[in-house]
Amino acid sequence: MTRPTFVPAVFYKDPVAALKWLERVFGFEVTSLVTDADGKLAHSELSFRGGALNVGGEWEGEIVGPARMRSPATVDGVNTQFVRINLADDLDAHYAHAREAGARILDAPTDQFYGARTYRAMDPEGHVWNFTQEVRVVTVEEMEKATGLKVRTSLEGA
């Protein structure tokens, strides 16, 4: 399988516990697990319906220059990015399973103005996950009318 173009990397205080949680609650599958000589997790890759995700521990150092990777759990619940997962179908079933399995639900499934049905959940270390499923095709005019916002699909007129 070809690797998808974009692969988010998500950082945890306890990445091994996170891997298990993501498998059990969201249905990810660990496809690659790299451990160093001490048995510590160095890198991992998970897959989910054709998408890919990396999970790692908190780290910093010369390898990434000034960047410092932190779990939201160590920085008062702050997030610099979220992960969005586009489901082809069964969003409500995915939601029911995640809730049952202990995910903290931020927003229950709702139909959005842009034609998607979405729900939002938080994992045990505070990362935010947006699940979405397209349920109908919406025109730019419909989106603008629904929101009062300006919608552009290209640079024209920008």
Binding site: A42, R68, M69, S71
Partner: protein, 152 residues
């Protein structure tokens, strides 16, 4: 709209409009949807490359924050897997002012990779597979143990 890949990052910027312009110039992404509010607010946007897309949003609210407001700390990063021309991509990003945090180099696992931060200090890595290696060959080169496949 074409079929979407399953997973994409939602990235928070203090100035999302400037970020979209910069990401197009530096990384070659292309905007296909921008939902814009007042005062430079971006409620939603989609920028594409290859088979994938990212979402640039902002300014940050509630518990969201840009790394540039946060001492360079980040809770996620994005890896971008290119199919070709990673060296040209590297040159383009540098020319646009990306901060290179790891110079481009071929890694022991067979990918040519560079790492940088963008105008608001979000971390990015870009890679291209230049040599396909077995798990054993990677283990020998890195001293790490790799397990792949179901049930690892």
């Amino acid at each position: 709209m074409e079929a979407r890949t399953t997973i994409g990052p939602v990235i928070w910027y203090r100035d999302p409009k400037a970020a979209i312009d910069w990401l197009e110039t530096a990384f070659g992404f292309e905007r296909r949807l921008v939902v814009e509010g007042d005062d430079g607010m971006i409620a939603h946007s989609e920028l594409t490359l290859g088979d994938g897309y990212i979402m640039v949003v902002g300014p940050p609210r509630e518990k969201a924050i840009s790394p540039m407001q946060f001492g360079g700390r980040a809770t996620q990063s994005v890896h971008v897997q290119l199919t070709d021309s990673v060296d040209e991509h590297y040159a383009r990003a540098q020319a646009a002012g990306a901060t290179i945090t790891r110079a481009i180099a071929t890694q022991p696992y067979g990918d040519r990779v560079y790492v940088c931060t963008d105008i608001e200090d979000h971390p990015w890595s870009f890679g291209q597979t230049v040599q396909v290696l077995s798990d054993d060959a990677v283990a020998e080169a890195t001293g790490h143990t790799t397990k792949t496949g179901k049930g690892v």
